[in-house]
C-alpha cells in the first residue's frame, strides 16, 4: 500500500509516454522490499514522501520546495544543491532532499561495473533516484540528506576516482561527444580537449568565479552530437580549413548503388535508387558542388562545412587534413532576451595534428598537461580573454550571451582581441553611423590650442 494517495500523479501514468511517476513508484517499492538488506542512511520511504509532496503541490497549485541552501562539501562551492521542503512534518522523508551533481566520464563511456558501484553508493546514501543525464550532461543524483554529503563525496573521489560537477556561478561540468575515440568524422580529440580544460580550470569548476553559470561543450565535427552550439556559452566545434578529401572511385560506387547512402541508415524503407544530384548536390546549402562527367567537384571556398555530403557518402568524402576548432560564444536558454544559439567568433583555431602524444608517452600526468598547455595555448588564451571581460563587465546573473547583446558584438570582438571579419556579419548594417577611435584617425583628436588660437579668436 502506498503511503500517500496520489490520484493526480496516477493519472500522469495513463499517457503513452514512459512516466517518471511509475519510475518513482518502482523505486519506492524496491526500497520497501530491500532485498539486499541495506542499512539505508536516509529515510527508507523517501520516494513515497517525494510522491506525496508532489501530489500536494499539484493539489495546491504551488511548490512546497524552498529555494537553495548553504550545504556543500568542504572546499567546494558547487556540485551540491541544497533542497528543503516546507512541509517537513508531513513528509519527513524529503525534509532535506539535496541534489548531487557528479562529473560524467568523457564521451559518457561507462562500464556496467562503474554504474553498479555508483548505484551501490546511491542506494545506501541517497534516494536511489537518478537523472542520467542532466541537461548539462552530468550525472544527477536526486535526494539525500546533509550528513551523507561528505560520505558520498569521499566514496566518489576515493573509491571511484570520480569528481563532483559544477553548479551555481561556476564553470559547469564540461561535456563532449565521443570524438576521435570512435567517430571517423571527428576533427579534434574532443576527450583530450575536454579533459584538459576540465583539469586546467578546476578552480573555476569547483568554486564560484563568475556572474552566473558558464558552460563548455565540445563537438568533434559540425554534426554537433552534443549540440554545443545551443547548449554552451563557449561551443567548440571541430572543423577543417582545406578541401574536403574526395575519393572519386568511391563516389562512383555510391552512384552505381554499390555502397548504401548514409551508411545504410533509414534502410527500413525503400527510398529508390540513390540520386546524387537530388540527394547531395541540390541539398548542399551553399550550392558549391557539381557532379559532371562522372566526377564530383566541390568549390571548397564556398563550403560552410555543414557535413551533409560527407554524411551521405562517408566512404567517398572525408573532412580536410588541416584541422582545428571553431569557437562560438553566447548560447543560452530563455529567461532574459530569449533563447539564443552561439555566435561564431573564431572560425578557425588550428590544432596541431602532429602533436598526437598520449598520456602513456609521458612519465607523469604533469608532463602531459604541460604538453597540452602548449598544444591548446591559442584556445586557452581566448577562453581567458572571454572570462576577463565577462567577470569585469557582466552584471549579476547575466549570461555571456546577454552581455554580448547588451554591449554589442563590436565590443566583444575588441575585448577578445578578434579582428572583425566577414563571417561576423549577419546582415547589412542597420545603423548608419561610424564611430572612429582616435588611433584610427590620422592626427588623432588632440589639437594645439595655441596654434588654433592664432587663426581663431576666442
Amino acid at each position: 500500500m502506498a503511503k500517500h494517495k496520489t490520484p493526480l500523479l496516477d493519472q500522469l501514468e495513463s499517457g503513452p509516454w514512459p512516466s517518471f511517476v511509475s519510475d518513482i513508484k518502482q523505486e519506492a517499492a524496491a526500497r520497501a522490499k530491500n532485498v539486499k538488506g541495506l542499512d539505508y542512511q536516509i529515510p527508507a520511504d523517501v520516494c513515497e514522501d517525494l510522491l506525496g509532496i508532489l501530489e500536494l503541490s499539484y493539489k495546491d497549485g504551488t511548490t512546497h520546495w524552498k529555494h537553495g541552501g548553504i550545504v556543500g562539501v568542504f572546499g567546494y562551492g558547487g556540485g551540491i544543491i541544497g533542497r528543503y521542503c516546507d512541509k517537513p512534518l508531513d513528509f519527513p522523508g524529503v525534509a532535506a532532499f539535496h541534489t548531487v551533481r557528479v562529473a560524467q566520464p568523457g564521451g559518457k563511456y561507462y562500464t556496467s561495473a562503474y554504474l553498479r558501484q555508483l548505484m551501490d553508493i546511491w542506494d545506501l546514501r541517497g534516494s536511489g533516484l537518478t537523472n542520467m543525464h542532466g541537461s548539462t550532461g552530468d550525472i544527477i543524483l536526486l535526494g539525500t540528506t546533509t550528513p551523507q554529503l561528505e560520505e558520498i563525496f569521499y566514496q566518489l573521489t576515493h573509491e571511484m576516482n570520480q569528481d563532483l560537477g559544477g553548479s551555481g556561478s561556476n564553470l559547469r561540468t564540461p561535456a563532449d561527444c565521443i570524438g576521435s575515440s570512435r567517430c571517423e568524422y571527428s576533427c579534434i580529440d574532443t576527450q583530450e580537449l575536454c579533459y584538459y580544460l576540465t583539469m586546467r580550470y578546476q578552480d573555476e569548476l569547483h568554486r564560484p568565479a563568475f556572474p552566473y553559470k558558464f558552460k563548455f561543450k565540445f563537438d568533434g565535427c559540425p554534426n554537433g552530437c552534443v549540440c554545443s552550439i545551443a547548449r554552451s556559452d563557449l561551443s567548440f566545434i571541430g572543423t577543417w580549413k582545406d578541401a574536403i578529401q574526395i575519393n572519386q572511385a568511391e563516389v562512383k560506387a555510391y552512384v552505381d548503388g554499390q555502397s548504401p547512402a548514409g551508411g545504410g541508415s533509414h534502410s527500413s524503407r525503400d527510398w529508390g535508387k540513390f540520386d546524387i544530384q537530388k540527394e547531395v548536390i541540390d541539398l548542399c546549402p551553399t550550392k558549391c558542388m557539381a557532379y559532371v562527367n562522372g566526377e564530383l567537384k566541390i568549390y571548397d571556398k564556398e563550403c560552410t562545412r555543414c557535413m551533409h555530403c560527407i554524411n551521405v557518402m562517408p566512404k567517398a568524402l572525408k573532412p580536410g587534413k588541416e584541422k582545428g576548432v571553431s569557437i562560438l560564444c553566447g548560447a543560452k536558454a530563455p529567461i532574459v532576451d530569449g533563447a539564443q544559439m552561439g555566435t561564431l567568433i573564431r572560425p578557425f583555431i588550428a590544432v596541431d595534428q602532429t602533436m598526437d602524444k598520449q598520456l602513456s608517452d609521458f612519465d607523469s600526468e604533469d608532463e602531459w598537461v604541460e604538453y597540452l598547455d602548449e598544444k591548446y595555448a591559442d584556445i586557452t588564451e581566448f577562453v581567458e580573454l572571454v572570462w576577463d571581460y565577462w567577470m569585469e563587465e557582466g552584471k549579476n546573473r547575466e549570461r555571456l550571451g546577454e552581455l554580448m547583446i547588451r554591449e554589442g558584438l563590436q565590443k566583444f570582438l575588441e575585448k577578445t582581441e578578434t579582428d572583425p571579419m566577414a563571417v561576423h556579419v549577419q546582415h547589412p548594417r542597420t545603423n548608419p553611423y561610424i564611430f572612429w577611435k582616435e588611433d584610427e584617425v590620422d592626427g588623432g583628436w588632440e589639437r594645439d590650442i595655441e596654434e588654433y588660437r592664432k587663426a581663431h579668436a576666442r
Binding site: G68, G75, G77, I81, S167, G168, N170, D203, Y212, D388
Partner: protein, 82 residues
C-alpha cells in the same frame, strides 16, 4: 601590488557587517566593488579562500551562488545546519 589577504579579510568583514542589517547574502560582484583597483580574479580567489577558512560561506540556489558571513541570516538556523 598583490592584495594582502589579511587586509582584504578586514575590509570584507567590515563591509558585510555594515550591510548586514539589511542583507546577509551577496553576489561575487559586490565583493569586487570593495576593491575597485583589483582584478576580479584576485578578489574572487581571496573570497573563495575565506570560505575555506570558515569566515564566509556559500549559499546556492542551484543556478546562482551567493556569499555571506558564515552563520549570518536565517538560512543556517532554518535549515538546522548550524
Amino acid at each position: 601590488m598583490a592584495l594582502d589577504k589579511a587586509e582584504a579579510q578586514k575590509v570584507i568583514v567590515d563591509q558585510l557587517e555594515k550591510k548586514g542589517k539589511s542583507k546577509s547574502k551577496f553576489y561575487l560582484k559586490d565583493f569586487y566593488a570593495f576593491f575597485p583597483d583589483e582584478k576580479p580574479r584576485t578578489v574572487k580567489n581571496i573570497v573563495n579562500e575565506l570560505v575555506g577558512d570558515g569566515i564566509l560561506e556559500y549559499w546556492s540556489s542551484g543556478s546562482t551562488t551567493m556569499i555571506g558571513l558564515k552563520g549570518a541570516g536565517k538560512q543556517a538556523g532554518a535549515e538546522g545546519e548550524d
